[in-house]
Amino acid sequence: MQHSVSIEYARCRGCTTCMKNCPTQAIRVRRGKATILTERCVDCGECIRCCPHKAIKARSDPFSCLEEFQYTVALPDPALYGQFQHLDEVGRVLDGLLELGFHAVYETAKGAELLSDYARKHPGDAAEKKLPVISSACPAALRLIRIRFPQLLEHITSTITPMELAAILARKKAVEETGLLPEQIGVFAIVPCSAQVTAAHSPDDLQQPVLDGAFSIRDLYLRLLSPMQKLDAPHTPSSAGKAGVRWAFCGGEASARGSSERFLAVDGMDSVIRILAAIEDDRVPDVDFVELCACTQGCVGGCLTVEDPFVATMRLRHLIRSLPDVACSYDDQVGDPAIVQADKELEFAPVYLLDPDRTVAMEKMSAIHDLERQLPGLLCGSCGAPSCHAFAEDVVMGRAQREDCIFQVRARMRAMTGPEDSDEYLPAPFRSKLGKVVPSDR
């Protein structure tokens, strides 16, 4: 799988900030540069946010992709609407996108609203799942479950994401309206995060991608500003109601399902991990539905947005006041219940497993503990691993060498040279005694 998150080699200084903040321990520093353990990365974008050198980027598609198609449709995420100051109508953003050269727009919020409507009308789908039912809308959370909480896979809704449903319906509509072949139509999502870029190209829940690409809100923002300002009254009516647009912030999906107040809406990777661990151990009683957002405040906090998530949420609240509660119905617009169903089983990806053979795994674990006991527990990061435990694991798994730990080197030096001076190899904070003080003349 091709990840959207990638490290710009030239800018990275190997400072270990991202490595220490990665919620899945997917980053190591090798030869002075950060590298990503691909199979552990869930594209949550935490590293993009925390890198002090702006060396981590989310790759989205270049606009030149549009040229490959005769007809192009933009699928704006509702988080886009929260980015602009003084925006009075959603239609203005949609007009702006048309002005930029897209032939049509199809709101992802509409896909979201149709999914909510579907969920309300088909409570039986959820009844087949284990409780609490867990939303599949945030691809970063979904991938986290796939690598770390396999037992919870049976809780996840079997419907596709709003972006995917919007893409399927947008393409269908374009084919009907233009008479072109489906492959002559380019369907592009405008997304708030790296996880959605990755999901557009390699969906977890579909055999084949239904999108042709994804642009980031950030990349489009500046381009949109001037055409949006030039327009007088918006022409394109918005097609989604409050229920759909609310999916942009955490809690929106749960309230649009409208089932009960017994839901959890959880945002931020740390909280998501904590709640998933609690659900796994039956420690969260009386909950029917769990909405998970890897980002603070939900998609408005995506790593590829422009505006502060709290400000964007406030703006969206203001913007949706003029919208109807619900603007579209599943039965009228889609009908066929098969369309929203995922066609790929969510699979456990055992990326943390030490070995498929338990005897071997246990031997490795013992070796890891033995080595860890010899390490200082400083979490200094100079070995290139996020903790001494992770380093010990890397050594045993062949991803690193013992000598990468400066303290292991010290021990060896000490054995060779005796106790004198052996500390000088260490950075000052780690020396056990003061270095030689060279007296100055004055």
């Binding site: 037992q151 796994e280 151990d281 055992p350 503990h369």
Partner: protein, 139 residues
């Protein structure tokens, strides 16, 4: 095959942070590839034991031996001990204080749950000296 030994100190007093030992253990058991149901039961027992050490005994230590066919969890504290084990084992019996109750603990379900989710459970305790709860879970 020698058992893998895991040791987790549990700090007393801090109810908000409690649960760390069981979540660390869980990740380790996942790395070993144990059956999900075994991991879940071990984790539930460890969590309850950990909370008990925090609330009732001002902390202690959890020692876990992961063998080929069983997990043994020992939760050892130097707290006040349990005067009447039979009573403590009854569902609903609790001596938890107001603070713990406000945080949702004190339903008197911890020990009964540990009994239910484990294959064997043994309590050694001496008033004024401390308590060791030993749990076995078959793999």
């Amino acid at each position: 095959m020698e058992a893998v030994k895991l040791v987790y100190p549990v700090e007393g007093g801090d109810l908000i942070e409690a649960g760390e030992a069981s979540s660390k253990m869980k990740l380790t058991l996942k790395k070993l590839g144990l059956p999900p149901d075994v991991i879940r039961r071990a984790s539930i027992c460890m969590y309850e034991g950990e909370i008990n050490m925090v609330i009732h005994a001002d902390g202690g230590q959890a020692e876990v031996d992961v063998g080929m066919d069983e997990i043994v969890i020992r939760m050892i504290d130097q707290g006040p001990g349990i005067p009447d084990i039979d009573r403590a084992m009854q569902e609903g019996y609790s001596t938890a204080g107001d603070m713990a109750r406000d945080l949702g603990f004190g339903a008197g379900m911890g020990l009964p749950n540990m009994k239910r989710y484990s294959d064997e459970m043994d309590i050694e305790t001496e008033v004024g000296k401390g308590t060791t709860v030993t749990i076995k879970i078959k793999i």
